[in-house]
């Protein structure tokens, strides 16, 4: 029997959840439900009757989830943790990536592995994306800082934009500092002088 798997994704991070959902759909899984809040978890799980649950490790409700699997009569099918049926290496990969999964008992290992591998790679991609986004925010902030410092120099010294930038760069090189650090110092100094 090769019926379609029903997959539940629990993640408070909506962007990451949608990345996982998309990956699952691209892999041909049509029965994917994403929930962001875990209030009324038992009923939701009972209604959805998932074969696989994917949950992020930041979620504080994992203890509750595992308890529900153990005792709840509302959850019809017993759910065991995926990691019980997998090789040690893949458990570590999942924990490293920040994701965990639970599956119904008796589900074929290969079918779960494909889902898990996808989830792991998407979680990693998300972390990378987040890192890049953070770097981009930093770069944007740095550029704004340099622009403000240039403005201050242009006004106070009557320099052109290019001359102001060259002065900042020259100063940074002389002091072995980053240009936005010099710009920051200058903005702070200008702020102090204004007061």
């Amino acid at each position: 029997m090769d019926s379609a798997l029903s997959i539940l994704v629990i993640d408070e991070n909506r962007i990451r959840a949608s990345i996982i959902e998309q990956g699952l759909r691209e892999a041909g899984h049509d029965h994917v439900v994403v929930i962001h809040q875990v209030s009324g978890l038992v009923r939701q799980i009972a209604d959805i009757a998932p074969d696989v649950i994917v949950i992020d490790l930041e979620n504080p409700n994992r203890d509750q989830l595992e308890h529900i699997f153990q005792v709840s009569r509302a959850v019809r099918r017993p759910i065991a943790m995926f990691v019980d049926t997998s090789e040690p290496g893949s458990i570590e990969a999942a924990v490293d990536a920040g994701v965990s999964a639970y599956v119904v008992d008796g589900l074929k290992k290969e079918r779960v592995k494909a889902i898990m591998d996808m989830a792991i790679s998407r979680f990693r991609a998300f972390s990378r994306l987040e890192g890049e986004l953070e770097a981009a925010r930093g770069a944007l902030a740095a550029r704004k800082t340099v622009d403000r410092a240039k403005g201050i120099l242009m006004k106070s010294k009557g320099l052109s934009e290019q001359e102001a930038y060259d002065l900042l760069r020259r100063t940074a090189m002389q002091q072995s500092r980053k240009i936005n650090e010099v710009a920051e110092s200058l903005i702070i100094a200008a702020g102090l002088l204004e007061e």
């Binding site: 979620n59 504080p60 994992r62 308890h67 065991a80 943790m81 924990v95 490293d96």
Partner: protein, 384 residues
């Protein structure tokens, strides 16, 4: 081996009894023993368990029954573990909603934390609700294998209630409990501080009783270590235990209470208000909006004999796993449990005499005056 090479990574949950680990790092106790102690905050006990199993953590702040559950394969990713040291005694309380407290007052409860009195009043209230056809009361605990789960059930059962039939018990993360009580998703819970005090401050509930009155001077969290790591790094573990013993002595000194509260409340640790930590640290609890109660020894840190794991404590937790049908008895399992809570290494590291583990009669005693005989675990579990 140089001092710098003794790096230890420890996982912890942001709770008051992570204090000993936090103080060991921040107070320089670990460093002075040649240990580079790195602390990693986690969001669930499941994460602690998983990251111990895959080797991210060398040791961790754990609920006392967790090393047993892991060793006996009662949870996912089971690995043999030991309880290397007791990190704190007591500290838990049972809180009921203001509505349940009112129902208990109708049954004659005067608000005392005496577990016998509050338990009887709760039992009468539960029976009263049943005759009126009202729904079951719902209680929260932090984990199925926790002191909280066993203390709550012990208290309910001693009052004549069947925890599996007369009430509903569910698992809820500590931080969420006070809100769940205020929103009527829960009618009561057993949790460590400050989550009882937070509910009282919010006007959502009041203390019904506490761990120290149910099972005096009993272990709550332990330093969990995998057998594999402990066997590979015995010298590091001994040094760590010594550092934690000194940190515990510092935490337990009343002169340091204010500094400790300040330290724990920090953003990378509990991330709370310092004055929320104070009631548990002093035992002066605001148990209800209009009432303060002093419970001596409510919550204790010690680098002395109380920090030494005891076989009979492990066996008591095992007896409760049997009692509530989480596992079936085997003599082999009982032996393994006793070994998990063997205190020899800790006693030697701390240099305390401690009570002999095999000193005959056990002093594991509860508010209902029942005694626990560690030599007859199965009989005890069946005797209730």
């Amino acid at each position: 081996m140089t001092a710098a090479s003794r790096q230890v990574v420890a996982g912890f949950i942001p709770l008051l009894d992570a204090a000993v680990l936090i103080a060991a790092r921040e107070g320089g106790f670990a460093e002075r023993e040649g240990i580079g102690l790195k602390l990693v905050r986690e969001t669930s006990w499941a994460n602690i368990r998983d990251r111990m199993a895959v080797g991210h953590f060398d040791v961790a702040h754990m609920l006392a029954p967790m090393p047993i559950a892991s060793t006996l394969k009662l949870t996912a990713l089971p690995v043999p573990m030991r309880a290397a040291m007791v990190l704190g005694l007591g500290g838990n309380a049972i809180t009921v909603s203001t509505a349940v407290a009112a129902g208990m007052a109708n049954e004659g409860w005067d608000g005392t934390l005496d577990p016998l009195a509050s338990g009887q009043a709760l039992a009468s209230h539960v029976r009263d609700r049943a005759t009126r056809g009202q729904s079951h009361l719902k209680f929260g605990v932090v984990h199925p294998f926790s002191g909280h789960a066993y203390e709550l059930r012990y208290w309910l059962a001693a009052a004549g209630l069947d925890p599996a039939v007369d009430v509903e018990i569910t698992v809820v993360p500590p931080r969420i409990m006070p809100d769940a009580l205020a929103n009527h998703h829960l009618d009561g819970y057993c949790v460590g501080e400050p989550w009882n005090t937070v509910a009282v401050d919010a006007g959502a509930g009041r203390f019904a009783t506490c761990k120290q009155l149910i099972w005096p001077n009993s272990p709550e969290k332990v330093l969990g270590a995998t057998e594999a790591w402990a066997n590979a790094h015995p010298d590091t573990l001994v040094r760590l235990i010594r550092a934690l013993g000194q940190a515990a002595a510092w935490c337990g000194d009343p002169r340091n209470t204010a500094a400790l509260a300040e330290l724990l409340s920090g953003g990378e640790y509990l991330d709370c208000r310092p004055n929320e930590c104070i009631p548990a640290l002093t035992g002066r609890l605001r148990v209800a909006g209009d009432r303060e109660t002093h419970v001596p020894g409510f919550f204790q840190f010690t680098g002395q004999a109380g920090a030494v794991p005891r076989r009979e404590h492990g066996l008591w937790f095992y007896s409760q796993m049997l009692r509530w049908r989480q596992i079936s008895y085997s003599a082999e399992d009982a032996d393994r449990v006793a070994a998990i809570f063997d205190g020899t290494m800790c006693r030697d590291a701390l240099g305390v005499a401690g009570p002999g583990d095999d000193a005959g009669r056990s002093d594991v005693a509860f508010f209902d005056r029942r005694r626990f005989d560690p030599a007859a675990v199965e009989d005890y579990a069946l005797s209730f």
